[in-house]
């Protein structure tokens, strides 16, 4: 009973304080919004880039073109024995020609007559467990006897990984800086609230108010500011992302598959929201520790 009364009192104090420092509280909330927007949009980009990479990785394969003199079976065994190799399939030159014909569709006529003197080499198609071992495996195969040429998406996978790494680091840095700014702004907000209520706080102490009773409204104030800031950020992000999904669907950019898994997105948005409230609470507890002597 006493607890509920105290809680009601604290809530009232929190709202009063926010109303008193309305613009500062709004600025703090906006700061949280901006930093979470940046963090959130880059998290979404990273999430999608990750999915894209997975997709690419699953499709990446090494083409090993063989000399006509190659010991096909021995070579196949050797390749299979390499670490990281998952699947090896042999493509005879006739099959390669068929595939080419198929891929040319209506213009397949240009290949007419090549059956007699097939210029395509026999080849192995090698799949690895993941994209990272591709360069090493390719290098090893290149050394083998009877191998004419090894081809894979040289460089482009590595670049993609690198770019996403850099982008993520930069985003994290920017968002961290903004979050720090948000912390300082909220600290100032709380400091003003503490100053405005200094007499009251002192009297509360003489009346025998417990420490948490004195501190809680200020702590709550920071968390409420964080709550509003992160709500706006999450709503904006969610809206924009949903809009993007619709657009991608309409233009049917089929090669870009955006992440639509509700669980992953829910965790991301929930996490952002929690982070905002946490930043608010953290900032106010720092401020309370610094400026509120009880």
């Amino acid at each position: 009973m006493g607890f509920l009364n105290a809680l009601r009192y604290c809530l009232r104090q929190t709202l009063l304080s926010i109303a008193r420092n309305f613009w500062l509280a709004t600025a703090s909330a906006a700061m949280i919004t901006v930093s979470l927007l940046i963090l959130g949009s880059f998290a979404l980009v990273a999430l999608n880039a990750g999915q894209f990479l997975n997709q690419v990785e699953s499709e990446i394969e090494i083409n090993v073109f063989l000399r006509d003199t190659a010991q096909i079976n021995d070579l196949g065994r050797e390749i299979r024995a390499l670490p990281g190799v998952e699947r090896v399939s042999y493509i005879a030159k006739e099959q390669a020609l068929d595939e080419m014909r198929e891929s040319l569709g209506e213009r397949r006529d240009i290949l007419v007559g090549l059956e007699e003197d097939n210029p395509l080499p026999n080849s192995y198609r090698v799949r690895t467990a993941n994209a990272e071992v591709v360069p090493a495996v390719a290098g090893a195969i290149e050394e083998m006897r009877g191998v004419e040429k090894v081809r894979y998406g040289q460089g482009y996978v590595e670049k993609l990984i690198m770019i996403t790494r850099w982008v993520n680091a930069a985003a994290l840095f920017a968002a961290g800086l903004l979050a720090l700014a948000a912390v300082f702004l909220i600290m100032t907000t709380i400091r003003f609230s503490v100053m405005a209520r200094r007499d009251e706080v002192e009297i509360m102490k003489y009346m025998g108010a417990s420490n948490w009773f004195v501190r809680f409204p200020f702590l709550l104030e920071g968390m409420v500011v964080g709550f509003f800031g992160s709500s706006v950020a999450v709503l904006m992000l969610g809206f924009v992302y949903y809009y993007l999904l619709l657009q991608v669907d309409q233009v049917s950019l089929f090669f870009i598959q955006l992440v639509t898994d509700q669980r992953i997105l829910g965790t991301l948005f929930g996490g952002l929201f929690g982070l905002g409230v946490f930043i608010g609470g953290l900032a106010s507890s720092i401020s309370i520790r610094k400026f509120l002597r009880v």
Partner: protein, 229 residues
């Protein structure tokens, strides 16, 4: 109820506010702490209220070592002590009722009980007609009565008043003292730090005289002393 054993308080700036004081105040006592400014009266009040800790010595509150109290126990002790100040320390934006109610609100008392208790104590201090006045609409004596009401509304075992009559005229001061006597008769211990010697002499209560941080005199039914009569 309160015992000081060889208590010394040394401030960081080197001032020895009180020096090796031993003191015992019993339940139901009515005592004056007297002495010139800087004799250590306020320091004793601060030590009792645990606003400060002594540099040396022990302090007991109701038979328990008050220096060992942790957060929750300090709060519990403070709820049993009513503080009254020279400068009133009322909240200017709150009415007399709200100021008294504040003392209960911060300890989580229900609204229903607040509405019942507050008018009772305001009546007890003779302010039943000024319930809705703001402090600036009240005279000094009335403001101090609000403070008394605020102190007694939590049913304290002890009232600590630091120069309560400092801002009041003699007549009002006497009325306030009458009020304290009344409260004391219901069993509440009262300790008043003051240098209002005329009042002390009239009251014929226990007088603890301080000088340079030491107790120089402790008499039942004493007088202010110090060469004034």
């Amino acid at each position: 109820m309160i015992q000081f054993y060889n208590v010394t308080k040394l401030y960081p700036n080197g001032v020895k506010a009180i020096n090796d004081i031993s003191l015992r105040i019993k339940q139901g006592d009515f005592a004056f702490l007297v002495g010139p400014s800087g004799a250590g009266k306020s320091t004793i009040a601060k030590l009792v209220f645990r606003e400060e800790k002594p540099t040396a010595g022990q302090i007991f509150f109701n038979g328990r070592n008050a220096l060992r109290f942790r957060g929750r126990e300090v709060v519990a002790m403070r709820r049993r002590i009513g503080m009254i100040f020279q400068d009133f320390r009322l909240l200017p934006r709150k009415t007399a009722f709200e100021n008294v109610a504040f003392a209960l609100e911060v300890t989580g008392v229900s609204g229903w009980e607040i509405r019942k208790r507050v008018p009772e104590v305001l009546k007890q201090v003779g302010l039943e007609k000024k319930v809705d006045c703001f402090p600036e609409q009240l005279s000094g004596g009335e403001q101090q009565r609000v403070c008394v009401a605020r102190a007694i509304v939590k049913n304290p075992v002890l009232i600590l008043a630091d120069e309560p009559t400092g801002n009041l005229d003699p007549e009002t001061s006497r009325e306030l003292m009458e009020l304290f006597v009344q409260i004391n008769q219901s069993g509440t211990t009262i300790v008043i730090a003051t240098h209002a010697w005329d009042i002390v002499n009239e009251m014929k209560k226990r007088v603890i005289a301080l000088e340079n941080g030491r107790i120089v005199r402790d008499e039942e039914q004493g007088s202010y002393g110090y060469g004034v009569s």
